[in-house]
Amino acid sequence: MTNISIIDKLKKTKILDLLQEGKRIDGRALNEPRPLVIDTGVIPHANGSARARLGDTEIVSGVKVQLDRPFPDMGDKGIFMCTAEILPLAHPSAETGPPQPDVIELARVVDRGIRESGMIDLSQFVLEKDKSVIGLFADSVVTDHDGNLFDTCSYAAVAAIITSKIPKWEMKDDIPVLIENQESDAPITTIPISVTMGLIGDFIIVDPNLDEWECLDARITITTNSDENIVALQKGGDDGFTFDQLVKCSETSIAVGKEIREIIKQATGANK
């Protein structure tokens, strides 16, 4: 334990020293995310799937579409749900067992960005109001952990959802019946992109890698939609942001989000 913290302190000093010169430990510019690679259709058994690799962080998302009952207060909407898990093979510190608060936060932040953007038109998922709806479940697993799981997971889930094929059901005698070979594209309205920024001292860096992540004073994840509006926020970490820093972060998230959205569009063939 003690050894690790000494290395961290040395590394933090190095990271801080470099920042004073406007440099980062892996040579990136402050507002430069790591290279993003998205592969879609990686799990043929899923209704939609994607593998996102942001630098050395890798996450696989699979979408399953199945019949469900609606939530009692939302009988005119289908169901959408995101989960996330850090697999024990992803990092030596990852353990099996019930999800820790940071993993719960990860899943909820990814879910919130997609849900609040209205990315999926859930009103098209209703077979019979209040009784029978289609549920879309986007489950993500971290297979390699090098920091910034929020964005990697969000990109993987979004790409998996865009490429999902929705099976067709019809109500026959009050029972939903699957119509074979009649799949349709997922009803996508917008592409939400999350951009996570870290605060170290007075510096704001985009897409912190794991070394930088360990040194963050605070972080913020801002999700924007295709119209460049802000749809979700999550501040984390042990310090705070000033108002001016938050304004700067929102501008950065829109600019960086635009580039990332293009990469996801290219990889998925989306046109929104």
Partner: protein, 245 residues
């Protein structure tokens, strides 16, 4: 948010909200410090219809021991809603939502509390929502700050919190339950006024960049109002016998 519809008028033609407030007005907030006998510090807040108790224990020994840190004390927060606090009974076990809120409140408080003065110890903060009416995380954070101060723990500032949001295409202060369900955006904000730092910030709902700035600015105004009420609650307890400053 989430597209839920309701048959309520969130904002009438005179700019008055469903509960009679103006757009830039908070609900009634009352805070009382030192309400529990056994806790090191405590507070009770009523924030509109929210009723929340905060109790602080410590600095005290850390159990389990491996969680202790030789460089600093640790802060542990549990935000919990009683089964009877909402209209449909809530299962007593902590939900994923409560675990996330506990985490964001911990991170909102930590910059304010001088934990480095208490190495190898834990400061436990328990936040019990007796009745929920929208904006519980902000109200709970407000009560937690006062309770920590009441426990005599050195702090850099009090953390005050208030939400802003959007309903009926208008930016509003202190989103209530109805506006949360049927409105367009909810942005809880936690703030340390003396240090100018925003330590809690979340959002769900769609905002343009201008609305985003306006929302934060309005939320900070609400925070500052709550800040005065927090300080008064502490004055009330510690200076109520004659000396009012």
């Amino acid at each position: 948010m989430g597209g839920r519809e309701a048959n309520v008028v969130l904002l009438d033609e005179n700019g008055i909200r469903s509960d009679g407030r103006k757009v830039n007005e908070t609900r009634k907030v009352t805070i009382k410090a030192g309400v529990l006998k056994n806790a090191s510090g405590s507070a009770y807040i009523e924030f509109g219809g929210n009723k929340i108790l905060a109790g602080v224990f410590g600095p005290r020994d850390v159990h389990p021991k491996h969680m202790s840190n030789p460089d600093t004390g640790i802060l542990r927060v549990r935000y919990h809603m009683e089964p009877f606090s909402v209209s449909e009974r809530k299962k007593p076990a902590p939900s994923r939502r409560e675990i996330e809120i506990s985490k964001v409140i911990t991170e909102a408080l930590r910059p304010a509390v001088m934990l480095e003065k208490f190495p190898r110890t834990a400061l436990d903060v328990y936040l019990e929502v007796l009745q929920a009416d929208g904006g519980t995380r902000c109200a709970a954070l407000d009560a937690a700050s006062v309770a920590i101060a009441d426990a005599g723990i050195p702090m850099r500032d009090l953390v005050c919190a208030c939400a802003a949001g959007k309903a009926a295409d208008t930016i509003i202060l202190d989103v209530n339950n109805e506006e949360d369900q049927a409105g367009q955006a909810d942005m809880p904000i936690g703030y340390m006024p003396n240090l100018g730092k925003i330590t809690l910030l979340q959002l769900d709902g769609v905002l343009t960049t201008d609305e985003y700035k306006k929302c934060i600015e309005l939320g900070l105004e609400g925070c500052k109002q709550v800040y005065e009420i927090q300080k008064n609650a502490l004055r009330e307890k510690y200076f109520s016998d004659g000396d009012n400053n």
